[in-house]
Amino acid sequence: MNDPYSVLGVSPSASDDEVKRAYRDLARKYHPDNYHDNPLADLASEKMKEINEAYDAITKSREQGGGSSYSYGGSAYQTAGQSRGAGKNAQYIQIRNLINANNLAQAEAMLNAIGSHDAEWYYLMGSVYWRRGWMDQAGQYYRTAATMDPSNVEYRNAVQYMNQGGQAYRPTGGMGASMMGGDAACNMCQNLICADCCCEMCGGNLIPCIGCR
C-alpha cells in the first residue's frame, strides 16, 4: 500500500484535525453519490477504498480510536437497477446486467429487438442513453417510463434525479457555480453567511453586526 499520508496529501506532522479535513474533502470528492450510474464509478470506488484504508491506517497508528467511524462506506454502493426491483421478464434482467457491466451496445441491440415497448423498456433505454452521456434523450425516456407507470418508484426517482440536476463534487470557498443559473446570487449569499459563521468561530467577522460596532 502507498504511504497513507501521501494518499491523503498531508504531511506526517499534520494534526489530527488536518488529517480529518483532508480525508473528508477527498471522501466528498470520490463519494459514490457523485458517480450515480457513471461509467467511471469503478475508478472512484477504488479511490475511495484507498482513502478509507489510508485514513484508518493513520488513525490506528496514532492510537486515537474513533476515527474509523467517519469512513464513508464505498463498497456499500450499488449501481442502479442491480438492487432495486428487477423487471418481470428474464430478458430485462439480462439487459440490466449488461447495462451495469457497461456493455451498452449489446443492451441497446437487445432492447431494439423487443417489439412492444412498455414502461420498463423506456426506463432501460433511458439508462443506456444516460450511461452514454446522452442526457437529453435519457430524460425523455425516463419521463415516458414514469408517465406509463406512475406507481413505479424507480422510474419516478430517475425523473426526479434528472429534473433536480444531480450532484458532483464542488470545492469549498465559492467555487460552486451551477450551469442552471438563476440562483447564483442566492448561492453567493449562502456562501457568505457560511463563511461568516466559519470566520466567527475563528474569532474573525465577514459580516459585521451593526450593534457590535
Partner: protein
Amino acid sequence: MYGYVRPVKGELKISEFERFRGVYCGLCHELARRYGFLSRFLVNYDFTFLAMLLADEGPAKTCPRRCPSHPFRRTECLESSQSLQTAADMTVVLGWWKLADGTADGRLPARLGCGLACRALKRAYGRAAARQPDFAAAAEENLRALQKLEKEKCPSLDAAADKFARLLRSIASGVEDLARRRAAGELLYHLGRIIYILDAADDLAEDIKTDGYNPLRYRFQPVDGKLSDEDEKVLRTGMQHSHNALVSAYVLMGENVYAGILSNIIYLGLPAATQAVFAGTWNTSAKIHRKRSSI
C-alpha cells in the same frame, strides 16, 4: 475554436493568470514555429485548456518572448514541450476543418474569406494531420458525420452533440495510463457536448433568421429566436448533468501542475460562459473580455 472554455479572470491568482498567459502565448509561438505565421490566428482558449489538462511534464519552463501583437512587451512564454506540440498540431487540424466548414455555409464574403484561409493553411494542415493521424482521422470522420446530420436536419440534440463530443474524446487516446485515459476521455466527451450545445444556443436566433440548421430548433419550439423558460430549464438541467459528469471525471485525472487554473475554468468558467450565453450577453462579454485582458 469557440472560446467558451476560459477562466473567470477575476478569480485567478495573479501567478495563475501569468502561467495561463504563458501557456496561451507558448501555444501561439509553437504554432508559428511549427506551421508559420498564418497559423497563429488559430490560437484559442480551448486548446490552451487542453494543453494544460494533458500536460504530464513536471513544472514547465518559461522564457521571455516578444510577439507581433505585443512588440514592446516581453511575455513569459511556456517553452516547447510534448503536450504543447500536440496541442499546436491539433489546433491546426481542427482550425482548418472549422474553416473548411465555413466555406460551406454562411454569407458569401465570409465563405470567400474561409476559402482563402483554408487554401493558405492547406500545407500546414497536411503536416499537422501527418503528425496526429488518429486525431485527423477522428476529426474528418466525426465532422463529416455531423455535416450529414445537419443536412438531414437531425432532431436529436444528443446525436448531433455526440459527434463533436467524440471528436474531443479522441484526444484522450494519447494518454498512456489506462485509468487516466478513461477519465480524460469522459471529461473531454462531456466538454465537447457542452461546447456544442452552448454554440447551438448562442447561434439559435441567427440560425432561425437565416434558416440554418440548429438542433435546438427541432428539439424544442423556440419563439422569436428564443427558447421558452420551460425549455431552457430542461436544456440547462441536461447541461448540468454533463457538467457533473465532467467534474466527476476531472477529479479522477490525478495531479496536475495547472490544477488551480483548470479548476477555475471547470468550476467557474464553464458555468459563467453558460450563464452569459443564455442571458444573451456572451458576444458582448466575450468582446469586452478580449479587449480588457488582451493576453
